[in-house]
């Protein structure tokens, strides 16, 4: 019993020592080795897209674990905020889930964008739906509300239940940029709106009439992904650019990255970082 208590106490002491690594770095021999780590005094501020947030947060967490003493602060704010903040110098790395706009690259020609992940949005229907193939035009007509019956796109004679995401969602943004923007139209207001990939999938899986779009990582056997203009959504078709509804997630630096920014980017683009990218349902670029 006493032994057990001692063990608990020593573990908790050890634990607290680990967290408080700034003070104890020189005291224990184990940590003394780490003080030679040139990455230990890195301090970085990252802000921007909420879509990139999980990647940046998780990478920052593991990076700080690997290099005790380093401090990386990650916050959201949106892609526009990310671009602006890095251009203004308020943060070291800005993140964006869309390509930089021409107005942004003109105003801040020094910005350098590094692609850290890819994301694709698959169009899914109920597994029992006979439709396996849609053209971009059909998809646009369905989402603008011009086509409201499955028989018009080669399916059975039932109403189409359009499932979409809330305004501001990164997945919706990706879909809108690729599908709705070319025809300058809004997604129909008659659609059912769900506020997560998970709920969208549950909705499509639960209704034979449904069509909905999902970030790639969420597609499973509950739903059926359809070909778009004959192209099956897959990591392959996103990476080679043939699948239309995809985007690159960016980390942006002001000028070429300095040594600490480079160290973090190397980490994100390295094996560990790219496996994190996969863990949070995006497609690795390397």
């Amino acid at each position: 019993m006493v032994l057990l208590m001692l063990a608990v106490i020593s573990i908790s002491l050890f634990g607290s020592g680990c967290i408080d690594n700034t003070d104890n770095a020189a005291e224990t021999p184990d940590d003394a080795v780490e003080t030679h780590d040139t990455l230990a005094d890195i301090k970085l501020q990252i802000a921007g897209s909420t879509t990139v947030l999980p990647v940046a947060e998780e990478c920052a967490r593991i990076f700080m674990e690997n290099h005790p003493g380093s401090r990386i602060f990650v916050s959201g704010g949106g892609s526009s905020h990310g671009v602006k903040a890095v251009a203004d110098g308020t943060v070291d790395i800005g993140t964006a889930s869309r390509d930089m706009k021409s107005t942004e690259t003109e105003a801040h020609p020094d910005l350098v964008a590094h692609g850290v992940a890819k994301d694709g949005v698959a169009v899914t229907v109920h597994p029992s739906n006979p439709v396996t193939d849609l053209t971009m035009e059909q998809l646009q007509d369905i989402y603008t509300g011009n086509i409201t019956n499955w028989k018009d796109v080669g399916g059975t004679d039932t109403d189409i239940m359009v499932v979409t995401r809330e305004e501001g969602s990164g997945t919706r943004d990706c879909f809108e940029q690729a599908v709705m923007k070319p025809i300058k139209a809004e997604i129909t207001v008659r659609g059912i709106i769900q506020d997560s990939n998970g709920k969208t999938r549950a909705t499509v899986a639960g209704s034979a009439q449904a069509i909905g779009f999902l970030s790639f990582g969420y597609v499973n056997s509950d739903v059926k992904a359809v070909r778009l203009d004959g192209i099956m959504p897959s990591e392959q078709s996103v990476v080679d650019g043939s699948y239309a509804i995809s985007r690159t997630l960016w980390m942006i630096t002001n000028g070429n990255p300095d040594s600490s920014e480079q160290a973090f980017l190397d980490f994100v683009l390295g094996n560990e970082g790219q496996s994190i990218v996969e863990d949070v349902h995006f497609i690795p670029v390397n």
């Binding site: 949106g78 809330e166 305004e167 501001g168 709705m180 008659r190 059912i192």
Partner: protein, 295 residues
């Protein structure tokens, strides 16, 4: 001397705890209005509350912020839930207080308490996987509907309506009942013509409080109503999807960019806050008038 100071300190502490709740409400109000009011004034209260179109991130052209369909949606779903829950709740309360033998009343009260304990998300999920397909298959439409939201909310409102109306019925003086029975009235006559009228204001308060709760409820509702920011068409079609004000805030707040979009959500909060405050004030009125009557 020491006793007096101690007394003072304790009094001060008690006073501090008492004002804490008030201060918290005030702070929330200040924050809510600070965030949302500038937008409301800029965009126009009229245009915001009566605007028909909600499109904060426009693909082409100006964004629009109209929450009228959501005000209608909130009222619609809350009213629908009351239509379902009030008759059931009041009947249950009457049975509990006037008719049920003590052992049955105990069991029913336990069950009602359990109902209160079910987290709203669980009810919402139940609605999503069971109720929505059921409505779709039996009535048509997509299943995501005012009806689904109302049923889920009715289940949530039921315990509150039952317990407050049961209290109101219990508070009716025993002498009223005995006088009525002594005059030869039957039990049902007594309930309908003596007890219910005497408990009326308490029951009204229960209904209005239930309405306030229903309008403020979020998670369960947004899972089953489809959240389309449009008016049902035709207006009485309870199988159409709607979005409530609470759902509007919850589903868009995560990603709303700072600026107009986010402020518009806070402004939605202000409208909701004002509506619930008014309902609460009305129900307090009703409760108070009952107190007056009882004496």
């Amino acid at each position: 001397m020491i006793r007096q100071t101690r007394e003072r300190i304790i009094e001060a502490l008690l006073f501090a705890s008492a004002v804490t709740a008030v201060v918290i409400v005030l702070l929330i109000m200040v924050f809510l209005f600070k965030e949302g009011a500038p937008f409301l004034l800029k965009f126009g209260i009229h245009a915001f509350c009566l605007g028909m179109e909600w499109n904060p991130i426009a693909m082409d052209g100006e964004p629009s912020y109209g929450i009228f369909p959501m005000i209608v949606g909130s009222v619609y779903i809350a009213a629908g839930s009351l239509v379902l829950a009030v008759p059931l709740g009041i009947s249950c309360a009457i049975f509990l207080v006037e008719i049920a033998p003590p052992w049955a009343a105990a069991i029913i009260r336990r069950g009602i308490e359990l109902l209160v304990g079910i987290p709203s998300v669980v009810l919402g999920f139940f609605g999503l996987v069971l109720l929505v397909p059921l409505i779709r298959d039996s009535f048509g439409g997509f299943g995501f509907s005012i009806l689904a939201g109302s049923i889920i909310l009715a289940i949530m409102a039921l315990p509150h309506i039952i317990s407050i109306s049961a209290d109101a019925i219990t508070a009716v003086p025993e002498t009223y009942k005995q006088a009525s029975l002594a005059l030869g009235a039957t039990r049902w006559h007594t309930i309908r013509n003596v007890i219910l009228p005497a408990a009326r204001s308490g029951i009204v308060a229960a209904v209005i409080l239930g309405m306030g709760n229903s309008i403020g409820e979020t998670m369960a509702v947004l899972m089953v109503t489809g959240n389309s920011p449009i008016l049902p068409e035709p207006l009485y079609d309870v199988l159409d999807p709607v979005r409530t004000m609470t759902a509007n805030i919850v589903i868009e707040m995560n990603y709303a960019a700072p600026g107009d979009h986010r402020q518009a959500l806070f402004a939605t909060g202000i409208v909701l806050f004002v509506m619930v405050a008014i309902l609460n004030a009305i129900s307090h009125r009703a409760l108070k008038s009952r107190m007056g009557e009882g004496r």
